[in-house]
C-alpha cells in the first residue's frame, strides 16, 4: 500500500503544478517550452534506450518454442508458434504485438480440493488489449488538432469511434473503453493481494497518470468546454515551428497538456519502453531454425576444454585394459 501511496502523492503534485503555472501566468512555459521539451526527451530518450539494447548482441538463439518445430516432412509445423523462417517470425511478432498472443494464454492456478486447477483467466488479456488499442485510437483522433486540412483517415476514425452518436458532442467509444480498461487494470493491481505485493510505485504511476489525462480530456469534451479553435491553433503552431502562446484555454486544458508532457518524459525513463522492447525480445523475434542455420556469437572466445589427448593420457591404461582402442600406445 505504501507504493500506491507514493504514486498517488506524485500524481497529486503533478496535478497541482500546471494549475500553479497557469496562476503564475507562465503560459509560454506551459504551452510552448514544456511541450517541445517533453517531445524532445521522448524521441531522443526512446531512441537512446533502443540503441542501448542494440549495443548488446544476441549471442545465442534462445527462441521460446510454443509449437511443433519444423522437422520431418509429414509432421505439421506450427509456423506461428515455432516459426522456422522470416514470414513465420513476422506472423508471430504481429500476433504478439497486435493481439497480445502470449497474454491470451493466461490461466489462473488455484488449489481446489487438494489439487491445482487451472482456470481460464482472459481478463488481463482483454483489458490490456482494450487499453492499448483504445489509446491508439485516442492518439490518432487527436491528430485532428495537429494537421490542417484534416486527413480523411482521421475523420473516418473519429466517425467510427463515435458510431453511436450518443450526446453532443458525440461520446467516443474509445474514451469509454480506455477509462474502463485503465480502471480495471488499476483496480486489479490494488485489489489482488498477490499483484499488489510485487507492484512498485512506478507500476501504479503510469496508470494513474493515464487515468487523469483521459479524465481531464473527457471533462473538456463533455462538461467544461474549451475553445477548440484555440487548441488547434496552439497545436498546429507547434508542428509548424511557429508556436502561438495561448493564454486562458482553461485550467483543465493546462492539466491535460501537462500530464501528457509528463507521460512523454516518463516514457523513456520507465517500463513503458516495453513498447520498443517487445520488438527486440530474443525469445520471440528469432526463428526456431537453430539446427538449420548457424547463429554467430560476436564475443565468442576460446575456453579451456579437456581435450581427447588429455583424456586418453589420463585413462590410457584403463582403456587398454578394457580393450578400447587408443590413439597412442
Amino acid at each position: 500500500m505504501k507504493n500506491l501511496g507514493i504514486s498517488i502523492i506524485a500524481v497529486v503534485i503533478l496535478l497541482m503544478l500546471p494549475i500553479g503555472a497557469a496562476a503564475a501566468e507562465w503560459y509560454s512555459l506551459l504551452t510552448v517550452a514544456l511541450p517541445y521539451g517533453a517531445l524532445t526527451v521522448f524521441l531522443l530518450g526512446f531512441i537512446y534506450r533502443v540503441l542501448l539494447w542494440a549495443q548488446s548482441p544476441v549471442p545465442f538463439r534462445i527462441t521460446t518454442t510454443c509449437g511443433q518445430e519444423k522437422s520431418l516432412p509429414w509432421i505439421r509445423t506450427n509456423s506461428l508458434e515455432s516459426p522456422s523462417g522470416l514470414f513465420g517470425v513476422i506472423g508471430r511478432m504481429a500476433l504478439e504485438i497486435l493481439l497480445f498472443r502470449s497474454l491470451f494464454r493466461n490461466t489462473g492456478a488455484e488449489i481446489l480440493e487438494k489439487r491445482p486447477v487451472y482456470g481460464s483467466a482472459k481478463w488481463l488479456w482483454l483489458f490490456g488489449l482494450l487499453l492499448h488499442w483504445s489509446l491508439l485510437f485516442i492518439l490518432l483522433r487527436h491528430l485532428r488538432f495537429f494537421v490542417e486540412p484534416i486527413a480523411p483517415f482521421i475523420n473516418a476514425l473519429s466517425a467510427f469511434d463515435g458510431l453511436f452518436e450518443t450526446g453532443v458532442p458525440t461520446l467516443y467509444l474509445s474514451d469509454l473503453v480506455f477509462l474502463t480498461a485503465a480502471t480495471a487494470l488499476f483496480l486489479r493491481r490494488v485489489v489482488l493481494v498477490r499483484v499488489r505485493y510485487f507492484s512498485l510505485p512506478q507500476d501504479y504511476f503510469p496508470l494513474l497518470l493515464l487515468l487523469c489525462t483521459a479524465g481531464s480530456g473527457i471533462l473538456m469534451r463533455h462538461f467544461t468546454k474549451v475553445n477548440l479553435i484555440k487548441v488547434k491553433e496552439l497545436a498546429t503552431g507547434w508542428v509548424s515551428f511557429s508556436p502561438v502562446i495561448q493564454e486562458g484555454i482553461g485550467p483543465l486544458f493546462s492539466i491535460h497538456l501537462f500530464l501528457v508532457c509528463t507521460l512523454l518524459v516518463w516514457f523513456p525513463l520507465s517500463k513503458l519502453m516495453h513498447m520498443g522492447g517487445i520488438f527486440l525480445s530474443p525469445t520471440r523475434n528469432l526463428a526456431n531454425d537453430n539446427r538449420m542455420r548457424r547463429h554467430l556469437n560476436p564475443w565468442d572466445a576460446p575456453v579451456r576444454v579437456h581435450t581427447y589427448e588429455e583424456y586418453e593420457d589420463e585413462f590410457r591404461d584403463k582403456m587398454k585394459t578394457a580393450g578400447l582402442p587408443v590413439e597412442r600406445e
Binding site: E148, A159, V168, K225, I229, G237, S240, F279, L280, P298
Partner: protein, 133 residues
C-alpha cells in the same frame, strides 16, 4: 558505437520517428491560421447591437449544447421560445433564428467545423435553405 542487428533496428527507429512526427511533416511545416469567421452578413450588418443569443465566448465553446437544448425543447416539448441570460426572448429555430443572421453557412459554420474536425448532425434532418448554401 557498435550496434548488433543495426540495420533492422535503425530501420525500426526510422519508422518510429516517421510515425511519431507525422503532424510535423504532414502539413509540410506550413503554419495554418485558424479560420477567420465572417460576420458580415447583411442581417448582422443591420443589427444595432451585434449580439448573438448568448455572449460570443460562451457560444464559441457551447453552441452545440445550446442547440441540443433547443432541439429537445422544440421537437420533444413543443416549446419554441428561449429566454437568454440577458432576458431577451428568441424563437427556437435553427433555420430561421440562427441562420437568419448567420446566412453564410459555408463561411461561418463549415470552416470552423472542418478545422476542428467536428461533424455536427444538424443537416441530417434540417434542409439547408437555398440562400445560405
Amino acid at each position: 558505437m557498435k550496434l548488433y542487428n543495426g540495420g533492422k533496428i535503425i530501420a525500426g527507429i526510422v519508422v518510429f520517428l516517421i510515425a511519431a512526427t507525422f503532424p510535423f511533416w504532414y502539413g509540410r511545416g506550413k503554419a495554418v491560421r485558424p479560420p477567420d469567421l465572417k460576420l458580415d452578413t447583411p442581417v448582422i450588418q443591420q443589427l444595432k447591437e451585434k449580439l448573438c443569443v448568448e455572449p460570443a465566448p460562451y457560444m464559441r465553446a457551447n453552441h452545440m449544447k445550446l442547440l441540443t437544448v433547443w432541439r429537445d425543447a422544440a421537437v420533444r416539448e413543443g416549446n419554441r421560445s428561449y429566454t437568454a441570460i440577458n432576458g431577451r426572448v428568441y424563437t427556437i429555430s435553427l433555420t430561421s433564428t440562427c441562420l437568419e443572421c448567420h446566412s453564410n453557412k459555408k463561411q461561418f459554420c463549415d470552416r470552423c467545423h472542418n478545422y476542428a474536425g467536428a461533424k455536427p448532425a444538424c443537416w441530417n434532418c434540417h434542409i439547408i435553405p437555398e440562400e445560405v448554401r
